[in-house]
Symmetry: C2
């Protein structure tokens, strides 16, 4: 197991959790007290991280929400990555994909400048678009395979492109630093993907606001050892239900997701 | 013709040029005098823009090279977009693609914050990943169809995915704000793509450092009126051949590309 996936498994073991918390700050959804701070995005993320930390095995900021706030947003992103304790991996949800010489610059931005532990990548541009990231043998690369959104039916499902992607990722995975992204709304395909890639770690978004099926997901997601997957929840935790103090509600929501994931695991065992 | 494509045609007419200049500042390739400036990326871009302006119909910064420099790089990007005269369109080479709610944040970043005229997009995530950009009816969306790099053979060519993309882009193009990206290294497919999409504007990178064939490209790229395409050159102009003053060499290189494009056009006419 490479350094990133080992760190992920260690964090999952330590916190008894396979929950990844998405940090996707939508400016108009940030609660008032944080909006009054000098750096509202970072203040909000800090509150979410503090609340969710005992219940999470990883955090995953999606770069779009930081870019929407311009350079200030990116500065908040850097502070966010630095704030998360080093034993909890941080995944850049970037979905980048560009020709080789440009992909190199993206890899530098994500791994050298922001110092993320892992990244999500779009495979459409093929091998040379992934190669500069593959060189970082101690990091993690989650390649989009079958996404959680309705548009995945346009190009990913026809001709079973998602299976061609799995086959290619297995070729790319020489250093053991690759994983897949498969949406929780696509559980009917998860069994087939897992059968083709029994060893790859799968990052599973789409639970919560997107309506993915957690129970069915957990039936097929684990690898042979019962590990090898993480479940991402974003809005379900950063926009927690209920009334009262934000941080208590966020902590409660994270804990509930952790418990739901674990209880399904146990029911299966 | 929507506002963006009209602006592009006006600029092409005014400067008698279909050359788009890529602004991809590689920090270690920026000449010494600019590196000593307070903002080396912007100082370098300013020199390239001043040199190429009379010979270009558009500029295209690739966001990777700005992100690699952290928030300072993004601040230089914003200054670069603002520096380019408003009658010359600026295209964000971003290749973004994410689920609907996230794509909205990317669209805000690119169109509202940076105020780009157009953007390149990765279609792998399908309709809802493009929809938030489509709403900007006065801007331009260049969708990746067949890219210039070797990795395009992994997923874009098999099963003729590039033609499925063309068909989908035609559906998306209700406001007339869509175009395609087809690499100049893929001229053998350009004829087929142009036949399927006689009206879409095609952005063609891959001439110059990547070795694309300009002559064959110009045989098939134009639409029925002879317009509807732009040829992007990045390193061929920002890392110009020869000795002596940088700005003179960059201007000379841009002029030569413009002349080569125009002479092929005339030979064809």
């Amino acid at each position: 197991m490479n350094a990133f996936f080992q760190k992920l498994e260690d964090a999952a073991g330590k916190n008894n959790s396979r929950l990844c918390v998405g940090l996707d700050p939508r400016i108009n959804k940030i609660p008032d007290p944080f909006r009054k701070e000098k750096d509202p995005i970072f203040a909000f993320n800090k509150a979410v991280i503090d609340a969710a930390l005992p219940h999470a095995c990883a955090f995953k900021p999606n770069l779009a929400f930081y870019e929407a706030a311009g350079p200030d947003g990116l500065a908040a992103l850097k502070k966010t990555v630095e704030y998360i304790p080093r034993d909890i991996p941080v995944i850049a949800d970037a979905k980048r994909g560009d020709i080789g010489s440009t992909a190199e610059a993206y890899a530098q931005a994500i791994f050298d400048y922001y110092r993320f532990d892992a990244v999500t990548l779009n495979p459409l541009l093929g091998t040379d678009s992934i190669a500069p990231f593959l060189k970082y043998e101690d990091r993690g690369l989650f390649i989009l395979c079958l996404t959680s959104n309705p548009g995945s039916e346009d190009f990913q499902l026809p001709q079973k492109l998602y299976l061609s992607i799995v086959r290619k990722v297995k070729e790319w995975n020489k250093a053991g630093n690759c994983g897949l992204v498969v949406g929780a709304t696509k559980t009917e395909y998860l069994k087939e993907i897992r059968a083709l890639a029994p060893d790859l770690c799968i990052l599973i978004p789409g639970v919560g606001a997107q309506g993915g099926d957690l129970e069915k997901t957990l039936k097929y997601a684990p690898d042979q050892t019962g590990g090898g997957y993480i479940i991402n929840v974003s809005r379900g935790i950063t926009e927690p239900p209920g009334e009262g103090e934000f941080q208590k509600r966020a902590a409660g929501a994270a804990k509930q997701y952790k418990i739901r994931i674990n209880s399904q695991k146990e029911r299966k065992a």
